[in-house]
Symmetry: C5
Subunit: 89 residues, 5 copies
């Protein structure tokens, strides 16, 4: 999983039916200095806000691990990071 920072959100009115109700957050990798090009979109599964440091699951884990087997989701925010040992965020 990736440690990332929530930096924004997007609105999409016209979308796949299985995405209705999903909250799309824009995140960027939090370890090292990220370029804008490294930002991507993850669906919020834990109720996070902009500025928080989060744990992100990608690939089939994002769909299946969040109970959305039939949704076109390839990245999900699955935890809020409280703290880390031997690390700086």
């Amino acid at each position: 999983m990736i440690i990332a920072k929530v930096v924004g959100s997007i609105v999409s009115t016209r979308k796949n039916d299985n995405l209705v109700g999903s909250k799309f957050m824009v995140v960027e990798p939090a370890l090292g200095k990220a370029q804008p090009s490294e930002r991507f979109v993850a669906v919020d599964n834990v109720g996070c806000g902009i500025g928080e440091t989060v744990l992100i699951a990608t690939g089939s884990a994002a769909r299946i691990g969040c109970g959305k087997e039939s949704s076109p989701i390839d990245a999900a925010i699955v935890g809020i990071v409280d703290s880390g040992t031997e690390l700086e965020f």
Copy 2:
């Protein structure tokens, strides 16, 4: 998921049977400045046009989330991006 811009489309007459009827759009990442080498092809699932900013799902999410379990699709356009907070496209 990736925020991308639709920059073109391709025509493929001779193709896998499960791809018949699919619309192949060429997209490029929209956050940061993309190189031509970063362009890839995604199947349109929402009815988009060239120049629009879209949300793309990759991997098994593209097939399964769009009801095309048996098609060789690894990227799909699953939303049109209307706007974003704290972001510039």
Copy 3:
């Protein structure tokens, strides 16, 4: 999916049983200038030849979308690209 150019083929006599009969083509990304290190192998699903521009599906889409659920295939050539709008190959 990736737009690639077929640049060669390989022969493998000793291989996994589920790969018997597969044609292994060496391809390189066709958008932008590719380095030799970016070349990879894709199984031919449409009957292509060296020099052609093709559409490639990767990941589980390559296996499942080509009816080879039980084969160790992670990339397949699933279309021949005839032409593209707003693009140069």
Copy 4:
């Protein structure tokens, strides 16, 4: 799989229910010199400690191979590396 070094751990109180009980280790690739930006999080499946060199499985292999089919896990520590031939860590 990737050979990595365990460099830290993280704590996440608010998280997906399927992650309760998982131990989140921060790892970095051990072959070559890693940048901080290459660090990622893997769930411990073997009982490892900080400083150890480990084997990591990614993607669906991390979930399914560790008996956590329904968890949003995309990377797992699946072995402790004792030694390697022709290699330096």
Copy 5:
């Protein structure tokens, strides 16, 4: 799939139960000049040795295509490369 060269092997005594009996080879991409950081571990499915040029399947194809559906394997050596047309290794 990737064309790679087998450059070493690793020993792991403490590991996931589903990995018992697997032979872990260290490989590096063989097309272009590889950096040490590009080396990774693949499970041997064909009986290869150090120095050989091999074909590697990654992702779920490595598990499912080699009959190890329940093992945490994300890369497998599935063929020995005998020769290639239009290519130099």
